[in-house]
Amino acid sequence: MGLLWTGIWIVGLVLYNSPVQAFPKPGGSQDKSIHNRELSAERPLNEQIAEAEKIKNVYPAENNSGENNYSFADNLNLLKAITEKHKIEKEKQSIRSSPYDNKLNVEDADSTKNQRLIDDYDSTKSGLDHKFQDDPDGLHQLDGTPLTAEDIVQKIATRIYEENDRGVFDKIVSKLLNLGLITENQAHTLEDEVAEVVQKLISKKANNYEEEPSKPKSRTESKAGKMSEKATPLATMQDGFTNGENDETVSSALTLTNVLERRTKTYSEDNFEELQYFPNFYALLKSIDSEKEAKEKETLITIMKTLIDFVKMMVKYGTVSPEEGVSYLENVDEMIALQTRNKLEKNATDNKSKLLPAPSEKSHEETDSTKEEAAKMKEEYGNLKDSTKDDNSNPGGKMKEPKGKTEAYLEAIRKNIEWLKKHDKKGSEEDYDLSKMRDFITQQTDAYVEKGILDKEEADAIKRIYSSL
């Protein structure tokens, strides 16, 4: 994480301390003239932006599929490379960017190759030498063109957007200021630009989903104009981002987005695009139409959306993989379906179970265990990184299991007691047996909890079951 932030402000560093010479032409066949910008250490950001604006209209043409595959892996490497680069260049006391002209192997999914960085930064080599090198440092776009100021701003903005953390930007700027590389004014300008881009990203995302739950972002969109013209091409680029392939966990949020997009079903009349995951839930919502249950509906919707957000966050942080996140959501939905069905079944048949002779105690057990199960479930999730089941397994997933578990335990205990009664005919009374059993069970369950074989809640449930017999 620290590396990331260091990397990010070094991006900024690069931005403001770029070499004087132009970038050599890359070996690709595409039109690269527009990318032969000069990033100068002396030139203030404004100028560079102005220059970039002049050629901004060429941007849409560049945003071909080649760029779209700009992966976050490259981003990461960009940052790593920049860290190293900064170290090297700092020593040299002259900060210049390296010749960036290598064409990036678009299909190179293994973007962790970081060799030849030293070569890259060896200023004595001409650009042509690097023509056919792999791109380990990610300091270009996919078609091999070098990064522009906008790109870097875009990257910062994207990073901020992904991290949902304004602090990213603050750190970059404060470091730049401390190093005297930018003036206050430039910092403000940069801030504005980044804010603009972030805002565009958000609204673009929102357009994709029709409604986006609010994400914390660096600034509210109070700044107008300067970057607005650039925003469209950048937004397009961001769109390209979204559709590209990512295989880094850092980019997994985007992958989740991809997956979400791929599974899009349109509920056009309802503006909860993400509820596509929950067709059953959605149906349920529809069925709750009465006014008095509007509040409940509201609550449910909020809960669902928050759940989706959390899953996305989990994916983003790499706690679960995108597929797991999606299948988890699907499992939840199936659980809802199950619940709904059960409710209907119950209403239709009005079946009551007769597991234990004391119904009042049993219902007490069940009520307790309901809360327990929620807690148990929490435990289960806490114990596992991967909390979702395979698609083919048990529909209803984890939600159903806590209930089933207690049930299974009850069943097992019942069988045990039955067997003991049958086989312990040495004249000892039932009560005596049970109390002995109870002590034994208490002792054993405690021992098991200590060893990590049982959860505390499970042990308590078992003890309680025995004590109620």
């Binding site: 966050m313 659980m335 809802i336 596992l384 089941k389 395979d390």
Partner: protein
């Protein structure tokens, strides 16, 4: 990283669960919502065995259920933790759980050492439940087994790998994902390679059993051993296991030692001294598994070379060379004889097939369990009746010795035939006995060893007696 987000998600799930109950159980009596679910479970269930894949929590739950149902004959314990902190759970079934009764042999089943070879894991869970059920039903075979054996069942030695494998979406699981442990270590190549040492010893002279002296220290200091491997090694050293099987997937055969070829070539029949009994043990499994022992069975994959398979069994080296495997480690470091059973052509088959795998393997698993009651067994004691631990029991013609356990009890698996058994211990005079061994049950042969000092005493006494007699006769 999982901290804040994860916890929030948990909290949310709790809320959601509560919400779900709200929705689904508004005017509902508690317990009745279970009716629908129970109905579902019953479809997949038979007598408490649910034929579905068990993830770690479900695995734990299943074992706990068995224990709860059969508290008198079962016990759950853990031999250690996986790299990611999951307990390596074992359920023990015996008439006196937790206790080694002198003379009662110890058996183990280990499954899922390759996390993506899932059938073994499930079969062992089913087996535990099955043994408990059958015991309570009074099934004589099972009751005898449980009364006379201490059965240890470890459904998964690589729970981390399993989670990884099981998390793959869809039915088609990758051939490698989840195979190794969380550190990327293939556990079945991670054991100390004692085969190499044995092969050298064969040429230059040296033992071929109990090859790992000062074991605990070596193991603990070896950084290359995975935590799972270390846990198993300690387990093997702590309990005097006699017979074991290691369950795998990816093919359909019962494999026996040695796994590593002598010459280092890729395929070579590498027999161990106990080749005869091992072939018999392997066949005892395969012959009860109809698919495994089917002579007309096509190979799992067209390109497979099944030429070494005989009656559903194969010598390890003849099939392909495996160094550092757990099977040979058992044989060469302890008294335990272990075979490797490959249960399924597909490593992680669809859940719907689990029931049929159970049907195919149920009898084989029990049959193999019964093999432990074969050969010769007994006690090594001194003349005063005290047990002699760590005495050596050697068999003429078989270059592999076993040792007696703490209570002086020993078990020597042997194919039917006539043998000469020799029991010896440092400081004691060795005794040899002739034994005729049937297929089963095990023949009881005890040894009372005379220590050197006792013999000296005896000789002294004899001498005194002779002197007394002489003096009386000659009127000293």
């Amino acid at each position: 990283m999982a901290g804040p987000g994860g916890r929030a998600l948990l909290a949310l799930c709790g809320t959601l669960a509560a919400c779900g109950w709200l929705l689904g159980a508004q005017a509902q009596e508690p317990g009745t919502s279970a009716a629908g679910m129970r109905r579902r479970r019953r479809l997949l269930q038979e007598d408490g065995i649910s034929f579905e894949y068990h993830r770690y929590p479900e695995l734990r739950e299943a074992l706990v259920s068995v224990w709860l149902q059969c508290t008198a004959i079962s016990r759950i314990y853990t031999v250690g933790r996986s790299f990611e902190g999951r307990e390596l759970l074992v359920i023990e079934l015996s008439d006196n759980p937790g206790v080694h009764e002198p003379g009662e042999p110890e058996f183990k089943y280990i499954g899922n050492m390759h996390g993506n070879e899932a059938v073994g894991r499930e079969l062992l869970i089913f087996l535990a439940q099955y043994l408990c059920n059958e015991y309570q039903k009074g099934n004589e075979t099972i009751v005898n087994l449980i009364h006379n054996t201490r059965i240890h069942i470890m459904p998964s030695l690589n729970p981390d790998g399993f989670e990884k494998a099981a998390s793959q979406p869809g039915d088609l699981k990758d051939w490698f994902v989840g195979r190794s442990n969380a550190q990327g270590i293939d556990l079945n190549r991670n054991f100390p390679d004692l085969d190499r040492i044995v092969y050298v010893n064969e040429k230059e002279g040296g033992p071929n059993n109990h090859l790992l002296k000062n074991l605990k220290k070596i193991v603990d200091q070896n950084t290359k051993l995975a935590p799972e491997t270390k846990a198993v090694i300690h387990w093997i050293m702590d309990i005097p296991f006699v017979l074991s099987a290691n369950l795998h997937g990816g093919d359909l055969v019962a494999n026996y030692p040695y796994d590593e070829t002598r010459s280092g070539s890729a395929h070579e029949y590498s027999s161990c001294p106990d080749d005869a009994i091992f072939r018999s043990l392997a066949r005892a499994y395969s012959s009860f598994n109809p698919a495994m022992s089917d002579p007309n069975r096509p190979p799992c994959r067209k390109s497979d070379d099944d030429s070494s398979f005989v009656d559903g069994t194969t010598n390890g080296g003849a099939w392909y060379s495996v160094p550092g495997g757990m099977q040979d480690f058992n044989y060469l470091s302890s008294n335990c004889f272990e075979i490797t059973v490959e249960l399924s052509c597909e490593k992680f088959p669809p859940e719907e097939t689990l029931k049929s795998y159970w049907e195919d393997n149920k009898n084989a698993l029990i049959s193999y369990l019964e093999q432990i009651h074969r050969g010769v067994k007994g006690f090594i004691r001194d003349l005063r009746g005290n047990p002699i631990a760590n005495a050596t029991i050697s068999v003429e013609g078989i270059d592999h010795d076993v040792t007696s356990a703490k209570d002086g009890d020993y078990w020597r698996l042997l194919a039917p035939g006539n043998y000469k058994l020799t029991a010896s211990a440092p400081g004691y005079l060795a005794i040899t006995k002739k034994v005729a061994v049937p297929y089963s049950p095990a023949v009881g042969v005890d040894f009372e060893l005379e220590s050197f000092s006792e013999r000296k005493e005896e000789e002294k006494e004899e001498l005194m007696e002779w002197w007394k007699m002489m003096s009386e006769t000659l009127n000293f």
